[in-house]
Each structure stands twice: as structure tokens, then as C-alpha cells.
Symmetry: C2
Subunit: 324 residues, 2 copies
């Protein structure tokens, strides 16, 4: 009955029929539709007032693919290659040597510290505007090594449908990602319908400067401002949004605290995890994995009855281009 109510309400935006057409029928899809129906049905016991309808999504591995490496790492490595002629010292200096030599064995051991070093070296001194342009230029030309397509083609069609369905029910959709805020904002509105002010992410310090002609710019410093991962996701949600979400979706241990923080509010709650189970159409990985490890958060989800998406069985298609 709740689902019938939802279908009726959603009709203007989702003309008759399936509200999540790329999701197979089953408990996962039912849990999502049921939550949206219950929380948006006026007068219902689980009704959530519109201003409280905050839905937070992790990005890497939840809204788009994150293999064989986080796409932002691919971007940073490509910047190292582009800037290498100006930095002859990089030919012998790690981690730049390994990047330039495509030495994957060494790169796999890079870790967060090494990656931050690469970001600092390749992003420092750019204005925020120049950085945004560099991101868009890269996305326009770079291709994913396996699918040979622009990285922004590798977003998940079922999640695009879910984002749109939530917005049609007056949920405000946010990204809450460990990725760089300035790496995401230039394209999230076009690709996900999520405007820059609804993107929470990791960020570096920027410095306000007046150029000689009086034009103000913000220049990227090497210093890290905030890491939006793990416990940082709850901190970031509080810092940027200032409200507790009622709906949150992630895919890895870095999302555990975001889901805990969401679950700890009162009233109806939805906590979801994407489990990468499809090695044929995408990638299959959970524990252990260097990228997007799902281990502790999986245990907690099983224990607490959170929704777990089985990509292989729950999703009819993975990417939008499969529909064409």
C-alpha cells in the first residue's frame, strides 16, 4: 500500500511504471522504495519534514567506478606526466619516478602519504579556477584503461535513478566523499544533478591573493585542510551540512562512521552499502582490497540489518551506455 502511494505521488516525474527501472525486483529495491514511500507519505508515522530530507552518497565505488585506481589518482598521475618536462629531478625522485615509469608494484605501496605528496607537488600554486579547468580538460580527453571511455561515463545508472527519485521526493542529495572537493565540483552538477554546494569532500588550504591588476584569486597551498573519510565523514557532514542525514549510501569501510552517524538519529533511517560483486560487468572485490575495502562496515551492516546492494544480482545494467 505504501508503494502504491509512492507510485501515485511520483507520477509527474516518473511517468507510470517502474520507479527504478535498472534495479531488479527483490528485497534491496523494495527496501529503498519502501523507505521513500514511508518517509514522504503525509500524515504517516515515519513522515520526514522536507527540510530534514538529507541524503548523503559516497562517490568512489558508490556513484562511479573506483578501479583499477581511484579516478582522482589517475588524474594526479597524468598531471605528473604532463608536468615532468619542467621537473627533471622527478626522473629519480620517488614517488614521481614510479609514476613516470608506470611501476605499478611500487605505486601499490604509495599509501595516503605518498598520494598527498603527489597532489601537493602537482596542484600547489594553481588558482582554484585553473585547477577546475585542469579537471575538466582531463575528463574531456582521458580514457579509462579497461572501458576506453571518459571516466564520467562510468557512473552507475541505478544510482542515477535513485538520486533522481530521491530528489523527486524533495530529498536534498549530497556527495560526501574522501575525494577532493575541487576535483568533483566542476562536473557533479552535469553528471549527477548535484550542485557544487552539495558536494562535501577532502580539501586543501587555499590562500586569498590580489593579483597586480587587483583581481582576487584563491591559490592552492600544499597544506591539507580536511580529510573527509572514515570518522571525518561524520565530521564533514556536521561541518558542511549541519544536519544529520536520514539516508546514506557508501561502499567501503571509509563509510562506516557516516552510516553510524546516520543510523543514530531518531525516526526512519536508511543505511546502504554497494557490494562490488560483478567481476564481469565491473569489478568484484571486498575484503581484502587496496581500493575500497569492505570489511568492518560489511560486518556492521550484516549485524544491524543495513541494506546491501549486490551489484551482480540487484542491478540490471551498471552504466548508462549499456542502455543505448
Amino acid at each position: 500500500m505504501a508503494a502504491t502511494g509512492l507510485a501515485a505521488m511520483a507520477r509527474p516525474a516518473f511517468a507510470q511504471g517502474d520507479l527504478l527501472p535498472s534495479w531488479n525486483d527483490g528485497p534491496t529495491k523494495r527496501a529503498i522504495l519502501d523507505f521513500i514511500a514511508r518517509t514522504t507519505q503525509a500524515g504517516g508515522r515515519d513522515w520526514v519534514p522536507v527540510p530534514e530530507r538529507i541524503a548523503c552518497f559516497d562517490n568512489d565505488g558508490t556513484l562511479w567506478t573506483e578501479q583499477p585506481v581511484y579516478f582522482q589518482i589517475a588524474f594526479a598521475f597524468d598531471r605528473v606526466k604532463a608536468l615532468a618536462p619542467r621537473h627533471p629531478e622527478w626522473r629519480t625522485q620517488e614517488p614521481f619516478r614510479s609514476i613516470l615509469a608506470d611501476d605499478r608494484a611500487t605505486l601499490a605501496t604509495l599509501g595516503e602519504k605518498g598520494f598527498l605528496e603527489v597532489m601537493a607537488a602537482t596542484h600547489t600554486g594553481l588558482t582554484t579556477e585553473a585547477f577546475g579547468k585542469a579537471v575538466l580538460d582531463w575528463l574531456a580527453t582521458a580514457r579509462h584503461p579497461r572501458f576506453n571511455r571518459p571516466y564520467t561515463d562510468l557512473v552507475y545508472q541505478p544510482m542515477l535513478e535513485l538520486l533522481a527519485l530521491l530528489r523527486a521526493h524533495q530529498f536534498k542529495t549530497y556527495i560526501v566523499s574522501g575525494g577532493g572537493i575541487e576535483f568533483m565540483r566542476p562536473w557533479t552538477e552535469r553528471v549527477y544533478g548535484i550542485p557544487p554546494e552539495q558536494v562535501v569532500g577532502s580539501s586543501g588550504v587555499t590562500r586569498y591573493e590580489l593579483r597586480p591588476d587587483g583581481t582576487p584569486v584563491l591559490v592552492k597551498d600544499p597544506k591539507v585542510m580536511f580529510i573527509d573519510d572514515g570518522p571525518g565523514k561524520a565530521v564533514g557532514i556536521n561541518q558542511f551540512i549541519g544536519r544529520r542525514p536520514v539516508f546514506a549510501f557508501g561502499n567501503s569501510d571509509g563509510d562506516q562512521q557516516m552510516l553510524e552517524w546516520t543510523a543514530a538519529g531518531s525516526g526512519a533511517r536508511f543505511m546502504g552499502l554497494v557490494h562490488h560483486t560483478d567481476g564481469v560487468r565491473e569489478y568484484a572485490y571486498d575484503r581484502p582490497s587496496l581500493v575500497g575495502q569492505l570489511d568492518k562496515a560489511w560486518n556492521e551492516a550484516l549485524r544491524r540489518g543495513w541494506t546491501i546492494v549486490d551489484m551482480k544480482n540487484d542491478w540490471k545494467v551498471i552504466y548508462p551506455f549499456e542502455l543505448k
Copy 2:
């Protein structure tokens, strides 16, 4: 003609007549109405797409009174007094001694460092929830020393009308304040119609903790995360909103960079300053002033033709309670 178009469009929200009834006619009011008309008239040369309609307002001295001291300082001092029985050492230790003794001469020299010390001592260890409750409890009982009213009564009626008019024209209204983000968010939605996720401000570090029963909390640490003042306002706008505003209003030198940052975008722009000229109905101050000094930003506004509100002459009433 533009103003006619605006009146017609605004009719649903502002039934016939004056769109800013508490503003006297004159160049200031005309500049505001003209800007809104030009930027929202479909097909016009200065039309701004809805997603780009970002309007940023400073809070202290721009949306509410900031004399005789910033209201957040009054809050922190009241907390020192409330917590004093648990801290006998404060009777001799500065700056607490001066606060407990109401030693205004010493307090006037406190400066940002001293104030941060008071905040750290009185806020550290509270959860974000407990802190928000402390703010609301204080607002419910504290009274302004001159007006003998709750501090939230001392918001500017003309600015409430401006906020509502902007929103009626699909501008997203933000607060961008040097004040504490957690001090503002509990009440800005009720008082200004600005939801917590549209409040940018200074903030401290918070720490994610699981309580013994498994409940997650965010605990306030003494460390400063970000000071949203001066150049920090441009940084904060970029960090939290990720779009450049087209409209910004401040009242002091701490707003200069926010206005410069707003002015440096392309297309139509509005930069405004509230000049406190009414010592009878409110307070009169500019340069020099310990609170809300308006000096360099005033010079720049005069030089660049930014709009300057003369409170005494531009505003029919200052506070909402004058209407009753």
C-alpha cells in the same frame, strides 16, 4: 520598466505594493530593486541562471546588532559565569578573572586570542548536540543590556525583507560570518529563514567518538578548524559553497575580501555595506571601532561605487518589534 517587471513577478509572494516596505525610497533601495529585477528578468542582458543566484550575508552588524559586544561573546562570558563554580582557579586567572569581575577595561583588550581561549575553555568537551542546546537555552533567557530583549529580537527588519525578496526571486541566501557556525545554526532557520546547510562560519575541530553504548557523538576540541573572516570569507565561500556569489552584503573591514571576491565575477554583481549611522535607534560607529570597524572596506566601496546603506536615513524601522 525593470522595476515594473519585478513588481509583477513578485506579486504572488509580495501582494501589491512595496517590495521592501521598511526601506525608505532613495538610491539604496532603488539599487537593490534594480539589481533583482535585472538579474531575474528572463531574456534580459543581466539575467542570472537560477543555480548561480547565490546571495551571501555577513551576520554580526549586517543581519543583527553587534553592540556593545558581539552576541557570541556575551554567550561565552555567560558560560564562564555559569561554569565558574567548577573552576575556582578562574578567580585569579585571566581572562576569566576580568569576565567574572565585569572588568570591561581589561576585556576590551582581550583580542581574538583571548576570546578563542575563552571559547576553548567553555566549549571543549561538549558534544555538538549539547552545544546547540546550550545556545538555544541561552537565547531563551539572556537579555540584551540596552534593549532588555532576547538577542534574536535584534535582527534588522529591512534585511529580513531583503532576504525574503531574494528568495522569492529564487536566490539561495547564505550567511557567511566570522561567528561560530555552531552558534548560528540552531536558530538561523527560524529567525532568518536560512537553513543550517546555508550557514558558513568559523569552526572548531570536532572529534568522532563512540559512547560505551555504541552511540556516536561529535565532541568539540579546543583546536580552531577555520576562521571565516577577512580573506577567510572568500576561502569559506569557495570551501562551503563552491560558487562565487553574485550578491553580497557586509558591514565591516572583515567583509572586504568577500565583496572583492563577489565583484570579481563576470556579469551583474551587487556589493553592499551596512553603515551604522543611527546612534538613537541603534548604534553609530565606523572608524575607529573595536567592534565592526568600517574603514578600509568603506574606502573601497566609495571608490568602486558599491552600495552603502545609511541606516538612519535608509531604514524606516530597525527591528521587527517596532512594527508591533
